[in-house]
Subunit: 217 residues, 2 copies
DNA sequence: GTCTATATGGGGATAGAC
DNA sequence: GTCTATCCCCATATAGAC
């Protein structure tokens, strides 16, 4: 028996989106891969934008839940005191990087997809990703503000954005410069996620804890 | 007398690309704004991809020249010793963030454009941006390796990628999460670039200098 | 409720007249 | 160098079969 139409569409769309990006993937390519009719997409998802949103939400809702869950765990473990910046950042970054096992093709596809998702690229993607991120961002901003009471909240907000940018690089494998990609992009395909996560946390935690620059130069 | 067709196309395309992104901007929108014929784009630039590449190269070649020039200046000033990480990163980041004055509309447009450019988003952009970056990336990787001799070169390559990701966030204004964008996106439109640069350098320099994570967890 | 067939309008690209 | 006319592909919408 063959799987239902809806998940077949979602699986095919996720794979193609991850490989070619959202705007470069046509619905026709998706229906060919899924073996369904074009109008089925419109029926189930109300068009391409709805399909993108459904793909995103299917995968990122659990990630965001996991982020919040981990944050609560390490806050409870800290028992009244604030968790370390490293712990908070691991709660934020790890679920995204760890989805799927290192050897799972689906996991790596999702990492590429996530790398694309996190970057603003022209309108509708922001909306789809933004609503998912919002609840998470608020919680983590508060947690980091508590861990770094000397930093203005505005500075922390900036640094969260910098951190997201760094994570997006890690997920998408970096720029296609040979000298850099030999050390990142290629390896990302083959090495384990844990190593990348360690590098990313070492970098972003140090940046997060940096003394703020002089505001009057 | 009216300007030549070619720069008119480039100006209109840059403006629209900056505003709506590359894939969401139609050639027809560009010709309407530039007041030229559709085929003129294909004649001068061999299609949309060539136009994107031309827009990119026109703006980024001088930026990359400036990066290399600044790196040489601070290396000469260091007189045999290595410049600080902060100096190297400022040479790398500042030309990109400083193009145009804070109040120049063109400068801000370019910042948005650059923010989009630096993030991998589906194929052809990487190629266009990658060739531009290559010569710069090699030089800065070497300079940072000299400034941070204890770090493996591979680790530095990863951190350069993280740094680029953070810079891309600064340029594009961050994710559209209200609580974060109130502190970044909105202000980026109105406040001076110097402030952003200071924040970015404080964050990325700390990340760059962080002790590497344990490789055996 | 689920899907097929088909129509519409907009997109990038190209050949060839001027 | 420039423009007109045209081609083919795509996303979307809808009517109606099952």
């Amino acid at each position: 028996m063959k799987p239902a139409t809806q998940p077949r569409i979602l699986d095919a769309a996720e794979k193609l989106f991850a490989r070619h990006g959202f705007e470069s993937t046509s619905l026709r390519a998706i229906i060919a891969s899924a073996g369904v009719n074009l109008a089925a997409i419109h029926y189930h998802f109300r068009g391409k934008e709805g399909l993108i949103r459904a793909v995103i939400e299917r995968r990122f809702a659990p990630i965001n839940d996991e982020r919040l869950r981990r944050l609560e765990v390490c806050e409870r473990r800290a028992d009244g005191r604030s968790p370390t910046v490293e712990e908070i950042l691991e709660a934020f970054l790890s679920p995204m990087l760890r989805v799927g096992l290192p050897h799972s093709g689906q996991g790596r596809l999702l990492m590429q997809l996530a790398g694309r998702l996190l970057q603003p690229s022209g309108g509708m993607l922001e909306k789809a990703a933004g609503s998912e991120f919002e609840r998470v961002a608020i919680r983590f901003l508060a947690a980091l503000h508590r861990a770094l009471p000397d930093l203005p909240k505005q500075e922390i907000a900036w640094r969260i954005n910098f951190t997201i940018g760094a994570a997006a690089r890690a997920l998408s494998g970096g720029i296609p410069v040979k000298v850099l990609s030999s050390a990142s992009h290629e390896n990302l395909q083959e090495r384990d996620v844990q190593r990348v996560l360690q590098r990313l946390i070492a970098y972003t935690a140090a940046g997060m804890k940096a003394p703020p620059a002089n505001q009057r130069p």
